[in-house]
């Protein structure tokens, strides 16, 4: 008899950090699990949550926020909740932070106006907004994951999405990038790195619905979660990703990749 797997997802501040379709990641991840008989439970990590609950989580997700909301988030996150999240990541709990949330998981973020915001220090990165008059990094983006092999063939290793960020992120000495930029700006528009990884936590500037068009990343995270939680490797039943493959193919052609 096979084990019935179940995954508890912690979603950072769904009300405050869901700027532009971020929940697409949650919808995609949960449906892909459900279609393989893996149960999922969703717990919002917000002001009403007791920090101890974070200990029960198998996967942590964070999306983007506007500046005002970012401040509210950090006010609530400081202290017990930050500590609980840091411990989870240290123990190898998989996490995905997209859009603005990796900035909060780094050492600090310097906005265009106002004070420096101290981050959780999970990723060895710093982020700086170069000034209100500097152009934002906006547009479609394609990358190649260099952290780990997500799929079996090269195109499966490609990620595609949209970025829209004012801040520029710089990797510290110990930080490993998540991907290499093929089209777009990436972390800072200069060094061709995209995102950052630490243990099983991924941070990247791809915003909003990152997983829907990158199902291999979604499945990769699912496998890692099962490995960490149950200590066993799992082969996920294949799903028909015909639409996803067509979407990726069309976009790669359009961007000349």
């Amino acid at each position: 008899m096979k084990t019935t797997y179940s995954i508890t997802i912690g979603w950072l501040y769904p009300d405050l950090m869901s700027t532009y379709g971020d929940r697409g990641n949650i919808i995609t991840f949960r449906k892909r699990c459900a279609w393989r008989g893996i149960q999922t439970t969703l717990i919002p990590i917000d002001s009403s949550l007791n920090a101890e609950k974070i200990g029960e989580m198998d996967f942590i997700f964070g999306g983007g926020s506007q500046d005002l909301e970012q401040e509210l988030v950090m006010r609530d996150l400081k202290g017990k909740k930050s500590e609980a999240i840091r411990q989870k990541i240290e123990k190898g709990t998989p996490a995905l932070f997209v859009c603005g949330s990796p900035q909060l998981m780094g050492h600090y973020y310097e906005p265009a106006e106002g004070k420096r915001i101290e981050g959780l220090g999970i990723f060895d990165i710093t982020s700086v907004h170069p000034g209100i008059d500097m152009p934002r990094c906006i547009g479609n983006t394609v990358g190649s994951v260099i952290w780990d092999n997500l799929g079996t063939s090269e195109p499966d290793n490609f990620i595609v999405g949209f970025e829209n960020h004012g801040g520029r992120t710089y990797l510290g000495k110990t930080a490993k990038p998540f991907a290499r930029v093929i089209r777009g700006y990436g972390n800072n528009g200069v060094d061709k790195t995209e995102g950052v990884v630490y243990k099983n936590a991924i941070g990247c500037y791809y915003h909003g619905p990152f997983l829907p068009k990158n199902p291999s990343v979604s499945d990769f995270i699912t496998r890692r979660i099962i490995e960490v939680k149950y200590g066993e490797k799992i082969d996920l039943a294949p799903l028909s990703d015909a639409l996803e493959n067509a979407a990726r193919k069309t976009l790669f052609e359009r961007f000349g990749v």
Partner: protein, 438 residues
Amino acid sequence: MRTRLAFLSGKIMDVFIRLFHLGAGSTWPGEIALRIDAFFIRRILSGSKIRTIIVVGTNGKTTTSSMITYGLVKAKKTVIHNPEGANLANGVASALIRGATLGGTLTSDFAVLEVDENAFTQVIRDIPSPSAVVFLNLFRDQLDRYGEVHAIAARWKEALSNIPSTTKLVVNGDDPQLVFLSKDKASQTTYFGAPQKDKKKIQLGHDVDSIYCPVCGKKLTYDLVSYSHLGVFHCTCGFKSPFISTNEEVSLPGFAGVYNRYNMNGALATLSVTLRKNPHAARELLDGFAPAFGRQERVNARGRDWILLLSKNPAGFNQSIQAVPELLQNKKSTVVLILNDRIPDGTDVSWIWDVEFENVSRFATDIIATGDRTYDMAIRMKYCFEKEDGERVEAIANLEEALSTAAKKQSSEVPIILLATYTGMLDARELLVGKKLL
């Protein structure tokens, strides 16, 4: 002298464009005038008694300003109105040039101007004492171009700081950001909202933007919600919904949805303050009003009836989807979804994940996804279903093929529902009725 030259250049351009049918919504005459004289708008208005009404907001600008124009014309006023899409400073200037006599005089009673949310700050500098400003709503829309909602609200508030006390502000009192915007201007503000029956005790959706108190930053308590972040709200700091004077009976034939009842109440409030009429008398001015292009517009093509619903952002799309059962009289039909990512649509299509497309399955017999981002749209629909079959979602990248497939599938008398982003609507309309604009 400079202004005269600016005007004449623009006027000649306008006559030329009209003579050769080069496009009704052209912004070139205004663009040329503004290049010659940056203060052109201010100067042409200063010598005239024309009263300006500015309509601004994320959604509903075209419908509301068309309604105001319609009402004013019915009240025997002469009106200049900028066509849809020509809502930046150059579009405003073009409308004024077109409406002026050859001598450069504006003789009309009113100019009703819909203004892009990002151009508002500039336009209000050029039109420093409008007769009325109508604030409809503020939703997230095309963050790739406009930046965040709070930043826009802050700019609007600043722009309002110099507004004279004679300008009437007509404000959606169900939108917390807009109430905050007009907080210190209570004596010149009229608040409108949705009818009571549209406000319910429901959970906020995923398309919300402004649910935090703009005064103190705490989460607002919503007693009632109409849609998105619009409703009856209060905060522990004392910030709360204002008194709203709203028409309860706002309906027109073939005109569905809460968002249209907001548009209509906004138009009625504006007509009532500018014409000094009571709301009931203002209501009669709107009899016979027909929807603007792509706004629940009905066309007959290829032997089928189609209802075209233009939507540009999550709040707009949700509202269109919610209006469909009302439009179809609870029958089911084929649904065509057109998602484009050109500049007028917004180049980022992430927002489709904030739309409750799950609700489409309730009235769709078949779903066809098409447009520049056919597969993004199809993937979104695939994840609306419990099972991984996606059988009811067809991805057809070619728009013509998508439309002919829809016409083939739909055999009944029930109209086909077509939901599209801006350029998708233009393209589909051209294919269906053979011309881009009315």
